[in-house]
């Protein structure tokens, strides 16, 4: 039960932060990516601001065996740079630039984004359903990995 409570608090902070920061505004995201247009620096402040509490949380986590609620903490990060990471991130980046939306803000904007946002989210969910099949094909294509 407490896990649900804190999950809801975390989600609320995330959604509220995305909303207040302006990241649900596709023009601000595309404005940041568009270095040849009227460059908008906001996203850098959002990313930088978000990394401050998160870096502190990682420092705290490093000293602990488990979370406050007794859940095992994530293992140290994998160092494996494979083609799924590269290909996936490039595809994501192109889509991010095209619409100015990434997964978090698209969910945060559900209540006010209108029909265009529903089209984007429906397509995103479809891409997510298809992903496991593409992933297994990429794995088979390179047996060395």
């Amino acid at each position: 039960m407490m896990r649900l409570v804190f999950s809801f608090i975390a989600g609320g902070l995330f959604g509220g932060g995305l909303f207040i920061s302006g990241m649900t505004d596709t023009a601000k995201v595309q404005g940041w990516l568009d270095v040849f247009g009227a460059w908008d620096p906001t996203l850098a402040f959002v990313m930088g601001g978000a990394m401050i509490p998160m870096a502190i949380a990682w420092m705290v986590a490093r000293k602990r065996q488990s979370s406050v609620l007794g859940v095992p903490l994530p293992p140290p990060p994998s160092r494996e740079i494979d083609r799924k990471l590269i290909i996936g991130s490039v595809l994501f980046g192109i889509g991010w630039g095209l619409a100015g939306l990434c997964p978090g803000p698209s969910i945060a904007a559900l209540s006010f984004g209108g029909s265009g946002l529903y089209v984007f989210v429906a397509a995103m969910l479809t891409g997510m359903v298809v992903a496991p099949f593409v992933r297994s094909r990429l794995d088979k294509a390179v047996p060395a990995e």
């Binding site: 620096p41 998160m54 986590a61 990471l85 997964p103 946002l117």
Partner: protein
């Protein structure tokens, strides 16, 4: 407009605080694509309700904040083909890479994860090239 960066910073601090709560209480890395993706491809397992509740919080807070703003324009394109293509790419790409701006960007880079840094460099570069290509050269966005 001049205060946008301050709101960006405040919003960013809230986003990072959400990630901190999710890590230190729930023991999980806060990644939007993983949370959403695991629910639609069925891999969430026993974490299903925790993740659904998280998403409920993500949707609900903007609803509660909206009265203070009146209206908020997402400036989203009305080009359906662009929206479908972008959505498919974001959904597929983030799940292949196992993370997006929140998981690889905020959570990964803040612990100096090599995968997080490489992924973030790739999607920012691809996004920048994409916007310049589709906006200034092809003129579709």
């Amino acid at each position: 407009m001049e205060q946008d960066w301050i709101w960006g910073l405040i919003g960013g601090l809230l986003i990072g605080s959400g990630g901190a709560v999710y890590l230190l209480f729930n023991g999980r890395i806060m990644g939007a694509s993983g949370i959403v993706g695991s629910l639609v491809d069925g891999s969430a397992g026993g974490l299903k309700w925790e993740r659904l509740v998280f998403l409920a919080g993500v949707v609900l807070l903007p609803v509660l904040l909206m009265p203070a703003y009146g209206t908020v324009d997402t400036h989203i394109t009305d080009n359906t083909a662009v929206l479908v293509a972008a959505g498919l790419l974001v959904g597929l790409g983030t799940r292949l890479a196992n993370g997006c701006t929140s998981g690889h960007g905020v959570c990964g880079m803040s612990r100096l994860s090599v995968r997080g840094i490489v992924a973030t460099a790739c999607y920012i570069l691809a996004g920048g090239v994409g916007v310049v290509l589709f906006r200034h050269i092809l003129g579709v966005i």
